[in-house]
């Protein structure tokens, strides 16, 4: 060991202002928390990077705008509910229908930042040389994408539920009576977050250019949704009803309508599929998408 490294650390009394010390290398003998710490660090770092934290200010603009777009209508709805209790501004279904596009844009523009830079900047070898497995890497990224998307899909919905209850005449009894709505809101928001987040990660895992990922997600979403809804409405064959599954927005309209027991949109009525098919389809997208991303990061596919 170097003399400097062996030298005792200066005490507070010794280290008076203006003194210069030789900062010799010190070996680390503190705790090592292994994989658990590594996965947690990757999860948090991915969220920070996607949100533009500790990056230049330009990286923060888009996430901030999307959160603003998501939370401002919420404040307006709760405000109106507080001032005019009899005036029903928006139901949960209306709210989810309204923010669906915002969540979609969030997933298209912010989520690729979780995965794409590691491929583009070739930092994958550095990550895989640390105390994690490839499964850990994919798990941390999927978790980061899911949690981040839930902050814009589930969190505002919970606040909406809470705001609605608190503006009721008797908040405590309103909460008790409407606790079922909270479960439905959380379930719907979580499914939207996981589905859109997974689709975004699948596309992001296939390119090292963020612009390409954003373009494919937005254009793919619009084109496939358009074709699916037109096919359901215009084709008059039994199997063509399944085209509705290509429209993620319609799929969630069907699920939300089922959860809150309201009449769904026209194309969903036209398709007339059993509700469990929509649920199964969403679960399939989440599971298959996660497995695809894992496959993309197997040794053969990721350097």
């Amino acid at each position: 060991m170097s003399d400097a490294a062996n030298a005792p650390a200066p005490t507070a009394r010794q280290a008076s202002y203006g003194e210069v010390f030789d900062r010799g290398y010190a070996h680390y003998d503190g705790p090592r928390e292994g994989r658990r710490r590594a996965v947690l660090s990757l999860f948090l770092y991915s969220i920070k990077r996607a949100m533009g934290i500790r990056k230049s200010w330009t990286a923060k603009i888009l996430p901030a705008l999307l959160y603003f777009s998501s939370f401002v209508p919420l404040i307006v709805i709760i405000g109106i509910a507080a001032l005019a209790p009899d005036f029903n501004v928006a139901s949960y279904i209306d709210y989810f229908g309204g923010i669906f596009m915002i969540v979609g844009i969030f997933c298209a523009t912010v989520i690729p930042e979780i995965l794409v830079p590691d491929r583009r900047e070739k930092t994958l070898p550095l990550y895989f040389a640390r105390a994690i497995t490839r499964f850990d890497y994919v798990f941390a990224k999927l978790a980061a994408a899911a949690v981040l998307t839930m902050t814009i899909s589930v969190l505002p919905a919970i606040i909406l539920w809470l705001g609605t209850q608190l503006t009721a005449e008797s908040p405590a009894s309103a909460m008790r009576e409407n606790i079922g709505d909270l479960g439905r809101v959380v379930l719907l928001g979580t499914l939207i977050a996981l589905t859109l987040g997974t689709i975004s990660l699948v596309i992001s895992s296939m390119t090292d250019r963020k612009g390409v990922a954003i373009g494919v997600i937005i254009i793919g979403f619009l084109v496939i949704t358009g074709i699916s809804e037109v096919a359901v409405l215009e084709l008059d064959m039994g199997w063509s009803n399944y085209f509705i599954l290509g429209s993620i927005q319609a799929v969630f309209n069907a699920i939300a309508s089922s959860l809150f027991d309201v009449v769904p949109d026209q194309e969903v009525q036209e398709a007339n599929l059993d509700t469990w098919i929509y649920f199964a389809w969403v679960v399939f997208i989440i599971v298959a998408g996660s497995l695809f991303v894992r496959w993309r990061y197997s040794p053969r596919n990721a350097s």
């Binding site: 060991m1 290398y25 503190g30 500790r54 550095l126």
Partner: protein, 331 residues
Amino acid sequence: MLQTKTDTRRVTDTDAPPVIEVRGIRKTFGSFVALDGINMSVPRASVGLLGANGAGKTTLIRTLLGLIAPDSGTATVVGYDTQHEGTKVREYVGYMPEAEGLPSNTTAADFVGHMAEMSGIPPRAARQRAADVLYQVGLAEERYRLIKGFSTGMRQRVKLAQAIVHDPKLVFLDEPTAGLDPRGREEMLELIERIYRQLGIAVVVSTHILEDVERVCDYVVILDQGRLIAAQSLGDLGDIGGEVIVHIEGDQEAFRRALEAQGITVREADLEMGFEELIVEVENESTYDLIRDIAVAQGALLRSLRGRSRSLEDIYLGNIGATREEVGARE
């Protein structure tokens, strides 16, 4: 005990347990044999991993990091089995890849700290160690600047810092001087030298530049076409028995003829050894007397007479040639 530049040149720690133990490792990619039955025990040292492109260096490193499963054979690194304890190996081993691979839109301190956490160090200690290690590699002032503004040399230093930030027992450096200008290369070699001699971290430097290995390494592992050619201490190179290099001032040709007339084999030395030097084969002790007597008789000035040392290049080229001939004969 600190080993500094002024200490013994070769400081292989043969008393400590080996940092790398490889037994019969074989790895193929389709019909291509990347590693062909490698067996070696590498002591705690500054190790040069030499070989041409495609020799198997990177595959060996990736296998030792537990990132590639070998077809057969076993390996332990810093005491952990690479196949079954891969994450444990990587917790105690650092890696600096050859490829350019750093995030551009983040500061050096943030990234190196994150890499420390990725090796299991808690956040607070990770931040402290990032600052300390960036200081050690000469980036104390620049640590809060975005990496995208860094020069190639500074980026190499960040890569080195992330490789040692978690205080590994062993660090793999893949082509650490690639792409650096002469000054940057010199500074990088000094840093590598410090990592083992002053920081006490065993080093494996993968390179095809012999000079870099001779400069900073104590032990050399040579690969060629997936085969292990040599694994030995550079301090054991020794002299080539039976040859001396003779430097005379005078009629070199007459001197050479006189020796050959006595039945002594004489060759001209390579140009890099000196234009006027001859390599003389020593048959017995009397050859030295003969060299002296002929020089005196011809009035030539005998400037020097020294045993011929083997260079790393001798080992590299000699062993590769011999191994290829042996393999060719077998096939």
